[in-house]
Symmetry: C2
Subunit: 650 residues, 2 copies
Amino acid sequence: MNTIFSKLWLDYRPLDPSFTGRVAIRCPSRVDRLGAAVSELITALSAMLPAAELTFGADSAAMIFELDIADFLSEEEYTVSSDERGAAILGGTEKGLLYGVFAYLREIRSAGSFVRMSRRVRPAVGLRMLDHWDNADGSIERGYSGRSFFFEYGRLIVNERTEHYARLLSSCGINAAVINNVNVRGDAVRLISEEYYSELARLSAVFARWGISLYISIDFSAPISVGGMKTADPLDTSVSYWWQDKVRELYRAVPSLGGFLVKADSEGQPGPYAYGRDHADGANMLARALKPYNGKVIWRAFVYNCSQDWRDSRTDRACAGYRTFAPLDGHFDGNVILQVKNGPMDFQVREPVHPLFGAMKHTSLAAEFQLAQEYTGQQLHVCCLIPMIRDILGFRTYNGSSADTVLDVISAAAAVANTGDDTCWTGSELAAANLYGFGRLCFEPQLSAEDILDEWISLTFGSDEQVRETLLYILLGSHKTYEDYTAPLGLGWLCKPGHHYGPDPWGYEFDRWGTYNHADRDAVGIDRSSNGTGYAELYNYPLCRDYSSPETCPDELLLFFCRTRYDHVLHSGKTVIQHIYDSHFDGCEQAEEYARLWDSLEGRIDNRIFENGRRRFAEQLRSAREWRDVINAFFHRLSGIEDEKGRRLY
Amino acid sequence: MNTIFSKLWLDYRPLDPSFTGRVAIRCPSRVDRLGAAVSELITALSAMLPAAELTFGADSAAMIFELDIADFLSEEEYTVSSDERGAAILGGTEKGLLYGVFAYLREIRSAGSFVRMSRRVRPAVGLRMLDHWDNADGSIERGYSGRSFFFEYGRLIVNERTEHYARLLSSCGINAAVINNVNVRGDAVRLISEEYYSELARLSAVFARWGISLYISIDFSAPISVGGMKTADPLDTSVSYWWQDKVRELYRAVPSLGGFLVKADSEGQPGPYAYGRDHADGANMLARALKPYNGKVIWRAFVYNCSQDWRDSRTDRACAGYRTFAPLDGHFDGNVILQVKNGPMDFQVREPVHPLFGAMKHTSLAAEFQLAQEYTGQQLHVCCLIPMIRDILGFRTYNGSSADTVLDVISAAAAVANTGDDTCWTGSELAAANLYGFGRLCFEPQLSAEDILDEWISLTFGSDEQVRETLLYILLGSHKTYEDYTAPLGLGWLCKPGHHYGPDPWGYEFDRWGTYNHADRDAVGIDRSSNGTGYAELYNYPLCRDYSSPETCPDELLLFFCRTRYDHVLHSGKTVIQHIYDSHFDGCEQAEEYARLWDSLEGRIDNRIFENGRRRFAEQLRSAREWRDVINAFFHRLSGIEDEKGRRLY
């Protein structure tokens, strides 16, 4: 494992190197002086005021920082009021206090001085979780940032990097982490057995100090694979007893455990279907075992037939999650959270919002995003997901209540982590913005993408205005750019099968994954109206109406919902085919501009970061040209229609 | 490693269990009584006449077998004359004698009795070689029959299976084997170093007893990877000295070594290009090191640009081998053999014969075939290659000499092995026919495919007439059947990239491998005439003329050589598109019939073989339907033309 790591946005630099006065930290005894909040403040002040005299509780001081716990605040809530002579920070608990310290530090570091601020904040989403797809052997499924820093050769690792990881999460507001892959394989099956308890306890203690709950992905058939039983039937009493014993034992060793994440009956993972049970049976059985310890079951809704016959055009994978889980609304126990991917397919750069968010009224929901850029350029292409996540959280479900956005209906948000043991944690330095932004959005979703990026840029790169403007321009445009050259009008899955990098427009067309574009010489797209697969009808009115017709469907989702001829005219006034050509040429030009703009930062940012970025922007450009030429060639060969602008098609 | 193995066609069964007389083997002292020829005869007679009294040299005997070496025969030549009371077998050397013994045993076992025969045979091709793509770690590249039986965890293995393998090869006339992959990786790089010598010596001794020369694939950059030098430049004297020393050392330890096989400057393998040298420079340098020991360099002509830009339609991979090697004709030393794949691409089910066979007049050539069914169903589909190999050997090159077939111009033939540690050696029992047939064809190419299969069936399955007829029908039709549902009119590479199993008609279209079909809504195929890539011009007259026009090009190669519209009418009278539809439906029906026919053999053949076959025929049928529907859907979506017969297209 690579033990050298960047501090990312927590690299505290001197703010006033010449300040030599006394700085006092004051807190009553109910605040833990060895806790993370106080220690983070000390770490930061020591670095920002390197010549100052730092004391606890001195009466006279040039600057005073008061920290306290306040009953009138909820657990994770904080207030900060500050001026140039110090700050008063209150938290509902140590956790809230820690968030307050981080908020204050963010503010003064962004401003570059000890500014006046006054703020009271509590997180919008209760559970803000990172899902790691790390395998026990140290590999990471869909990992583009090196190897796991949790696992090595089947062993669980806790070291200095783990501590810094916890600080990074906490500083952007994340309060839970699942450390192992939802596809539970190899040694990971035995994470819930004796041999791992002491290391799990150590890890959970590090996490807890930074307000992070440790979760584990479990094998639904653990009674068999770990317990040596003959069944994992959730309605078999010997199975539920086994789980009760197992959970009791686990909590005895790891008292602060958050709970379990479960991928069941999905892509080959075991689940309740094997025993003729439904997902509520499966989830509730585990939930009851966890309940005495306030543990939670996060149950993934990503269930579909991954052995579909491509010849069967009536079956639509997009419907599967809804059809499986909507009938179970109200059947889940209170400590079950159903984790729903942001869209009905699988983290494409453009999908409609998952219809389950508008359907489940009596079920705790988590929205699941994917920071690991599996389908969005694998951290070789820049693709800032903050605007997309923000849009999804703000998406109205029309579920009949007055507060009907996704944000209103969820109690949790999870994101597949984009981290690994790379020196810069996320493969590309720019991809760290997605990690930071996910946490910040879950905490304060009213922040604009620009606000968040502004923060992240100044904390990471300092105050150079050209750096700020350049990165803002690149990051804010990057998602549309990636969409432009890879996924026209809501058409996903044009990527190479398996590894999902680079274009292969019919690579999935005749396969078992339910991800078809149905392109032919005349038309393209899937009719998901009531005349087609019926998927559009899974949305509440007026969405179901809007999505059912090319006249009302947003252009950006047109080919997801409607089958249209190449000469169909979009709301934009362009034909479908001309839009395809134009967006691919435009996206590619943007990629060229990004590479040029990045080059202009040479000497203004750290050289290691610059060189890493240069290599990646060069690869993005090469790949964008590949995408442009392949997708345009594909549709040109099918449609026979020339580009209006006479550009070269192959 | 699986050490249980079938004896395949060498399972000697009783011929006359009631015969109790005396049987004498007579041979003068110049015949080695412990040699393979005598011992094979004893093994066979003991099994065929289990009640007989077997003696050496007795005067009075009911049956007499006389073995001798005869000066008037060439090294591998033999004569057999026999009647119901015995046989006289002569060989030019022990090797010829062994071939004579095997020929005699074949004859009487096929006939089911001690028949009269009289024959004098010498092999048509001098070097008859099997190329194993076994890696040192025990995996086999493009292996569909289990793991390697030569290598396990980097170690070289010599055991009972090795001995039986050598017998199998010898019995069908193969006289050389390359034991490791042409892509030399991992521990295999060090096969030519001290640590492997003692095992190589053991293996070569086993091989030599059965008339088989051991060859090794070497890393062209071994002076660097093994020798620790800074260069592998073939014109650097320190490099050639290094090879001379290495070869001297190697032959001291393994005196019967045949030589080296080299894949240079191909698909990432190192070669002379790195030093600005050509392939003759590279091959001759090695040849000179090997010459004192009568060693040979087999140099592969499979050189092409595997990083082609698909947008570049002027570059044609098919031309690459010719353009690289034709200018070097006459530049190679006498102990270099240029190994040329049967076609210009890579072992597709249908390709034209490689134009180098008609171009090289002063270079020893080997024709390379692939028994491992990489592109022909991976031993899950039955695909008997004997008729194809026979056709290629008989193909006229029109090189201006009176004997101008491929057989006439080659001095060697090589085949990529289809073996592994499977109990039945070749994944499917039926695939063993390819191994047997390759050896037999190289020895006696005048035999018809039916002759050879007849032999193989009776030696393997005995004399059941229904078994014979059924297998003959399946095997003789199987290549056309496979071609029908996978590769219409010479169009290859419609398979899935990477593993090459199953259909993906545009999986290679926008990739770097130079394997494009250029299908669009109007036409398909590559113009390789002088108006196109010019490939057809690499053939001698009249082939270059015939291949250049749809009017004269054979239908089966039409889309390889000519770009044609879907409504173009073939010599068969069908349109291109209708041919595509019909052949796919026909091929699939054949696959159905094969499965039915195989089922009819239940109880008539060994049950393990029957069940193994049943599973494979079921998979072939499933896969054939997949091929039919995908390829037909692909061309239907592009062309928009309906099937004349109104069958279901997707």
